[in-house]
Symmetry: C2
Subunit: 486 residues, 2 copies
């Protein structure tokens, strides 16, 4: 009966996911306001089902027969109790406000005008703070929010990891900037979207993306959306003079989709039927995007097809292309940042959203504070909000506590790669384009577990130690050395 109840929830969730996916991809413009209402209504109903007395009783009466069933009840109870703390009206108001705010953000970004979205964001921040209060926390309201994305994580733990990472990053960046810069042969060359699309579709086949269970579309901000059982969709975007943008967005979202599509089908719709955490989910997108997709071996493997579709680059060998997809450079846009400076973008966002939720930062002061911190961490002056605080949808969509997942994902991914390399000839497999053994290892250690384990437990199980900065530091230092010595 418990499983049947969750199956019912999953169908309404699926409809809500499709409403969202469509809103970002194909929906006609004028349909926005009603869509926001429909999405709020559906999400509100899912919320009602997920907090009903009926579900509470089913969880209470459950009599789990094995470890998996125990996990269903344990994770189910945890979510149920958390949801119950949020009044339905508050939740619906939050979904509606954040849907409208995200729509307003798209327009504000186009117009490069933070002011037009400010009142919407004000509302979303207020509601997020109210939600944090309802959820409860020991010391820091932010902990209530990050816990939704990374169970067991706190602002304090994030701050500790991030501060070590920030110092190391800034120091390495300064050392690199004294060396001869890498020449980027890829950026600035105009490639029509249709040709980019062909390569991206080919890449997905090369990586083994199952088209009978997913698809690639286009949206303003790339994302992955599990729509239903055997239906996980990814998006990318085509930037005329930046071919790297679509390629790495596609590989990134492929990583998310692979995780989602690899979770055992019998977990679908149950509390354990998703990734271990947002950070773990990001570890897979970053693993495929960076550790696989930005490796020399990967570029040796795709070089032939790449120059076949893009003859304008035929004079460059795999080694030169590899260096071009690994240019380390201070830049404005998070999603275009290299692996090293990327984390500085996240650390800044974490600090700002932490302050917003704590009430130490006002919404109206976001642009100026962003620009101030950006100069301090990334070392660049921001002259346009589109290149600054308007670039990402997360805050406008109400996802406070989400941003740390990206950098946690980077840390997880390096630690995972370290463990995987003890058992598999990683570089050789990537060069051969033979991804099955890698997927199989990831399936055994991660994907097959769904959300049975908390992230702290899962990383310890697979790597033998808690999450730490060491492996990412080693990985990125080694990579920098290889790039600049060659």
């Amino acid at each position: 009966m418990l499983k049947k109840y969750y199956a019912r929830i999953s169908k309404f969730s699926s409809a809500a996911s499709l409403l969202y996916w469509d809103m970002q991809t194909y929906m006609p413009k004028m349909a926005g306001p009603f869509r926001a209402e429909a999405l709020a209504e559906l999400s509100g109903y899912v919320f009602q089902l997920a907090t009903s007395d009926e579900l509470g009783a089913l969880l209470e009466d459950a009599n789990p027969q094995d470890e998996v069933e125990e996990a269903i009840v344990r994770v189910g109870k945890r979510e149920f109790e958390r949801f119950r703390k949020i009044p339905k009206e508050l939740f619906e108001e939050f979904v509606k406000a954040s849907t409208l705010c995200e729509q307003a953000w798209q327009e504000a970004k186009r117009q490069d005008n933070f002011k037009t979205v400010e009142p919407f964001l004000q509302k979303v921040v207020e509601l997020s703070r109210e939600i944090a209060e309802k959820l409860g926390y020991e010391k820091d309201p932010y902990d209530a929010l990050i816990d939704q994305f990374e169970p067991g994580m706190t602002a304090q733990k994030v701050a500790t990891l991030f501060s070590e990472l920030r110092e190391f990053t800034i120091a390495l960046l300064e050392r690199i900037e004294k060396l001869e810069p890498v020449h980027d042969v890829l950026s600035g060359v105009e490639i029509e979207p249709e040709r980019q699309r062909k390569f991206n579709e080919w890449l997905l086949d090369y990586l083994g993306f199952d088209r009978s269970r997913g698809r690639l579309d286009v949206s303003e901000h790339p994302f992955t959306n599990p729509i239903g059982l055997n239906d996980v969709r990814i998006t990318t975007r085509y930037v005329l003079d930046d071919i790297k943008n679509s390629i790495f967005s596609t590989i990134h979202e492929f990583g998310h989709a692979l995780y989602s599509l690899s979770i055992p089908q019998e977990f679908y719709g149950l509390p354990i039927g998703s990734s271990a955490s947002y950070g773990f989910d990001e570890s897979q997108s970053r693993f495929w995007e960076n550790i696989v997709g930005r490796s020399l071996e990967f570029w040796k493997g795709v070089h032939g097809k790449f120059i076949e579709l893009f003859p304008e680059f035929s004079q460059y060998d795999a080694h030169q292309l590899w260096k071009s997809v690994n240019v380390i450079k201070r830049s404005y846009i998070r999603t275009e940042a290299d692996e090293l400076t990327y984390n500085l973008h996240i650390i800044l966002r974490f600090e700002l959203e932490h302050a917003l939720i704590n009430g130490e930062l006002k919404v109206q002061d976001i642009p100026s504070t962003w620009n101030e911190y950006f100069e301090k961490y990334v070392g660049l002056k921001v002259s346009s909000d589109r290149m600054g605080c308007l670039q990402d949808p997360h805050w406008y969509g109400g996802s406070f506590g989400y941003f740390p997942s990206y950098t946690l994902g980077n840390l997880y991914s390096a630690q995972i790669k370290h463990s995987l390399s003890k058992e598999l000839p990683f570089e050789q497999l990537v060069e051969e384009g033979n991804f099955e053994p890698i997927k199989s290892w990831l399936y055994d250690k991660i994907y097959s577990k769904g959300k049975i384990y908390e992230p702290e437990v899962l990383i310890e199980k697979l790597s033998g130690e808690p999450l730490n900065v060491t492996y990412f530091r080693d990985y990125i230092s080694e990579k920098a050395k290889r790039i600049f010595n060659s």
Copy 2:
């Protein structure tokens, strides 16, 4: 409170519509079974809302203040009472069975194998008959089903109209076949789908389709789907060697979408917020497809753009193209049939589905009976079910009682055109591509009324007489004369 309740229903309906639209356009193949379940769950919930005691009480307590509010309560009560006769479990079973059957039909059609879909269809027919019993009827179970599409219509009335039409059609067809046949210069010429797509998109702009409130996509069987407020989507299909197929599908669906998008926004989601009937809805698709789109004047208007995009036809003038889109010829596929023989396809379907619902025809005998009737009415031997009883999705999707709407739509459209022509210089406006006065007339007489009036009342209000065969007969006879005398 009543309006708020309907608004809630409309949001779940909107999600269900999107699940359906996506299933027909973009959904990955393996997602089918779960999608069928999700669609059944959502539709079941909408059904539950539409039959709740709460809605019953709201309708009972309603205190309408004007004619529009009276109509809301009247139509609302009528639907409520009808829905209440169907048990929720039966309805959910029907939605699920017809979704699965429609999916099985797509495969059966591809394989040209009726046998694979037969057990699914058997189930759908049984459930449809059970629904007819629950709904109740005076003489004929079919009346219970057709009433869902055409309020007030009966098998008896349809049979009377159709028998007059059938005799006239067969006689005219025989007369025409003694004349020199029209040379079709368009069919058989291969045009890549991308170029066809460009013309279809241009056509929609030419007709004034509002892109901010709708879109054009591709599906196996073209359809129009009102997804939500300010969101009505149409599909077409591109057949390599038959450019007429996509063009007239697009114009046809444009007519549906125009009606839907023109119903006053304040009616949205309410019982009066849709077209007067399926037949009236078809009258608009047929009006735009045939009376506008297959007129000589229309082809004078689009000729320049047509030969610009399709230079392979540049040797033909508007007159020759017009004759080519009006070839009258016995053929297998309903959606490709000309205006005259089209109705024979419908009459056959009406007679078969009438017999299926009455229990006079068994599902297993559909192919042989189809082929027998087809030869009798259309005069052609059917050698493949794909070209016969597998061509249309309606029965497989559970829409028994729907088919007559097409021919009723043809009759309505000719009667409407006759009335419109008394007030507007129809031919001149079409030749100028000046569709606004025509839309405005249709808005005043039809679109602005939503579902306030029953179709019998509406046709009488706008034309001064009941629906009859006269105007269609005059229109098609006159057109045939023009084609063969020129």
